[in-house]
Symmetry: C2
Subunit: 152 residues, 2 copies
């Protein structure tokens, strides 16, 4: 097994259970606990693994509405706009993109009223030339982290 292979397998194992103990990981990958510990530290230091998080079901917590907001922005205002969006904690993802629009953002809200209020407040910015909001009817998959290829 190559070094990189073990790293990829380790990441994949953690993607399966982010709270798995080093011992169980060692058993699963058939290497020693020491090796797991060393590789995991390396992955964290390299920034491949940036941290750990519970997978929270916001639907179960009464954040029922997800919306995808697309914006056309005055060219030089793009950094300001994305920074503003980023500071809204309910914005899950904010992307600067190519194509018809300049920014695509995904946000979660308690209800349609909460969504309306926040989006209307956002759109008062004069640097926003055009906007387009899609409300999510069904999140088929969301924020799914995929497992890495294992080279044989």
């Amino acid at each position: 097994m190559t070094y990189e292979n073990l790293d990829a397998k380790l990441v994949n194992a953690l993607l399966g259970d982010g709270r798995a103990s080093l011992r169980s990981l060692a058993e699963e990958l058939d290497v020693s606990v020491t090796t797991i510990s060393n590789h995991l530290s390396d992955l964290e230091e390299q920034g491949v693994i940036q941290g750990y998080s519970p997978i929270v079901d916001y639907d179960a917590l009464e954040y029922d509405v997800t919306a995808i907001i697309q914006l056309k922005v005055e060219g030089n205002a793009l950094p300001d706009i994305t920074e503003t969006l980023k500071e809204h904690r309910q914005m899950i993802s904010v992307y600067e993109v190519t194509g018809d629009y300049d920014v695509i953002a995904v946000g979660k809200f308690r209800d349609t009223d909460g969504m309306n209020d926040q989006i209307k407040a956002l759109l008062t910015d004069p640097d926003i030339k055009e906007s387009n909001t899609s409300v999510v009817l069904n999140a088929v998959t969301e924020n799914e982290q995929f497992k890495l290829d294992i080279e044989q």
Copy 2:
């Protein structure tokens, strides 16, 4: 402290560090280890916490291209299309939405060639009436899970 309050604080603490030990969580929230253990089990059983995951930096792993794909679909083919997208493991999120398009999906690819191949393959489906792909220039924030309100 109300029951719900402790649960929200526990989720928030885990959002800060998803591998935090029960003891450190107990100390942070000023309750016993047993209480943390019980509440955490409950949150997991209720589905509020659906699991745990490392936060993987795909950029560091040579998945450099993120694309947002929007599709207009023949009405009755929507479930098939979303299911197909879901099965592509590199699709991070797949949403059925209101608005101009019927489906919005976010995918990650090794490079633009890989992206092109996969998207072209997808678009051969005759039930897709129209598509629009935006390439992400800059992921300002991505898949950020936000902390819960704590009712006082």
